[in-house]
Amino acid sequence: MLTLDPANHYSISSTSVLRHVYDPLLDVTNDDRFVPALAESWKALNNTTWRFTLRKGVRFHDGTPFTADSVLFTLKRVRDNTKLIKSFVYQDIDDVRKDDDFTVTVTTKRPFGSLPARLTMLGMLPPAAGAHEEAFFTKPVGTGPFRFLSWTHGDHVELEANARYWRPSIPKVDKLTVRFIPELSTRAAALRAGEIHVIDRVWPDMVATLKATAGIKVLDTPAVEAQRWHFQLAREAGKDPRVRKAVSLAIDRNTIIKELLLGYARPVVSPIPPGLIGHTTLGQKPYDPDRARAILKQAGFQNLTLDFVLMKDLYPKQLEIAQAVAAMLGDVGIKVNIRNLEIATAREQRTAGNYDLFYSGWAHMPHDPDWYFGQWFTRAGAEKMTRFNDPRVEQLIAEGRVPDPKVRQQKYEEIQKILWEDEPEIWPYYSVAIYAISDRLRNFEARRDYYVLLHEVGIA
């Protein structure tokens, strides 16, 4: 939890708190549908123009009504104030116009098919917030189901029910306390001790202990995240498609999923995880160490050494999995140096190209793959990362940036076919999000995007 300004952070824990205080224009459901929130409906008039019809009768916690002015203020603020962390997300917005109190037209600088998806990440603010921003964000008001009460830094946030919330009979509890407990063992202990009702980010190995505790339920769901370890394509090893192929063949993904993650992961069938636009089925990558050895021998790579860089503590069980991979690659004659570095250093190493394989995952926020492609498979995006450069893919990504979902699906399928053959990345598994809750909790939804949203949750 970093700030109370919904446009000024990029953190999942902050989102889990602030989505209860502020509403976005659109919401995304757990089955990846974009549904109305403060906008009742929206429509693409052409490739660069969108019209939003706003919900009437909504009020902020301080009583002021929600209107088109709020949308104008919120969108222009985030686009123009480049100090805001989320500013870059909305740079393609050209203009925001108020047609009447409850109709807004947004024009974009280029086709911007992911605009609705990106708007799910932005809570709407009252225009009055602009006058004294610093003061406003110490005691903020939104339109959400809970009002902000207090925030003890590093410890907890307190929220209370908003009795006049625009969705009928929501929220179902009077008070919400969000505690920040970084250590998983302690988080699980607090749940088992009955101090809290929900914990997120549970590890597979903790599940058995939690399930064995009376009064606790464990829930899991496929996440919008795929693990993806990328090669440095400008270095000797990663440059050669035969090496990438051999590495891919030498990794026993099923063992990782079954033995190390205890089944809390799914085999990858295309780079985009299921449920998102673009997902398709390209088969599963085979495990064949003999062929890997043969390919390496044929290509003349006898004493290959790979630097495998990890960003410390970023992904569950990463060090364990990396050591397993090192052993698997060792079996086909590739020596692996594991380098588990603090995140900032690891990222600098990546920028400098000082790695062969980089351990990373990609959560497809906001339930849309445009970002992933733009970052990793365009020249501009990948220039200081993997050095990926393929004009065919670049072209397809640009063509996929239109509002029409059919066109997008088709372009994304083509992109993924190329990537699947080329293997600039290893896709070991789709992640699974695990939560544990008290069995007194009703209507808890295990979210695919790791957010904890308790709008509809009640206590028996």
């Binding site: 970093l2 700030t3 300004d5 000024n8 952070h9 990029y10 480049t82 100090k83 962390i85 500013s87 870059f88 740079q91 610093e134 003890t152 830094h153 590093g154 410890d155 907890h156 505690r179 920040f180 407990i181 970084p182 250590e183 063992s185 302690t186 202990a189 607090a190 088992r192 001790a193 009955g194 101090e195 603090e342 995140i343 900032a344 250093t345 990222r347 600098e348 190493q349 990373s360 990609w362 926020m365 970002w371 992933y372 733009g374 970052q375 501009a380 995006g381 220039e383 200081k384």
Partner: protein, 306 residues
């Protein structure tokens, strides 16, 4: 005495300036880009550049330091990159929890450590001594996280006597302070024992005994008093550890202290927060050690104002 005090104050100021320059330079020389840590991986390079400019990181180093010094004089430590709020405020919010934990741990250390030390020294060679030694060994060798998680599981989950984590009320202070105090307590116990044994063997003590002074009086009034000096040195040093080095204990117990704040700030390259904490804790540290040095001279007149 006055000249001595003035000189010590001057030295303290030199230390603080030294710390501030060192922190400032190392933060900016170490690899890692603050804007990249704030923005997600998908952010375009232009956004990274723009944000770094806003954070004031595109000025030459000496200009940045000058701006920093000028602001500090006005009491402004800059805006936290991560929390998007004044760094001083971010840090001060953590002070109550930090002080509560440090004071509780220090009290435990002194009371338990010295008692254990005296006990094992006076009963040298008895089962009391061996038991105390084993405790001291455990205190020194148990990793913080091991002790912390075991205490949480035992007292929080199984027995449910104490809250597992969080900051609020006396009960929440017990487990973290025991965890944090384990190491310094063991150290103090061993040092007390060692010093006492040495002093108890010295002539003036033997003289005291020969004169018929009670053993309790000999130990408490004479021997312990002379054992205080090495103890004070170590305790003074431990205060720094208790204030800033409690990161693992704070993580385990979700304790909103400065130890975790500073480590996270270092990892996320939140320069203003790191600078604020280091200058603040360096100040506290310098003041405490100044006091310790002054105490030496009070306790042991043989030490001149060196």
């Amino acid at each position: 005495m006055r000249a001595y005090l003035l000189r010590r104050l001057w030295q303290s100021a030199v230390t603080l300036v030294g710390v501030s320059i060192l922190v400032f330079v190392i933060l900016r020389v170490v690899p890692g880009d603050p804007a990249k840590m704030l923005l997600p991986e998908g952010a375009p390079p232009s956004a990274v550049e723009e944000l770094n400019r806003h954070l004031g990181l595109r000025e030459p180093l000496w200009v940045q330091y000058e701006i920093f010094l000028r602001s500090v004089v006005r009491g402004d430590f800059g805006q936290s990159f991560q929390y998007r709020a004044p760094a001083l405020r971010v840090v001060i919010e953590r002070v109550p929890a930090t002080i509560a934990l440090a004071v509780a741990a220090m009290a435990l250390t002194v009371v338990v450590g010295v008692s254990l030390g005296v006990l094992t020294a006076v009963r040298q060679g008895t089962p009391w001594d061996y038991g105390g030694t084993v405790l001291a060994v455990l205190g020194q060798s148990l990793p913080n996280f091991w002790l912390g998680i075991m205490l949480v599981l035992l007292f929080g989950v199984t027995l449910r006597w104490l809250p597992t984590s969080g900051f609020g009320g006396w009960a929440s202070l017990v487990l973290p302070s025991v965890t944090l105090a384990a190491f310094p307590t063991a150290l103090v116990a061993r040092l007390t024992r060692a010093s006492l044994l040495e002093i108890l063997g010295q002539e003036y003590i033997r003289t005291g005994r020969a004169k018929g002074l009670g053993e309790r009086r000999v130990v408490l009034r004479h021997a312990l008093r002379n054992a205080t000096i090495p103890l004070l040195t170590v305790l003074g040093l431990q205060i720094g550890t208790l204030l800033g080095g409690a990161v693992i204990t704070e993580s385990i117990f979700a304790w909103p202290g400065m130890g975790k704040l500073v480590v996270d700030a270092i990892f996320f390259r939140d320069f203003p927060v790191v600078q604020t904490i280091l200058i603040l804790s360096a100040t506290i540290f310098v003041v405490i050690n100044l006091l310790v040095d002054l105490l030496y001279t009070v306790l042991d007149p043989r030490i001149r104002y060196g």
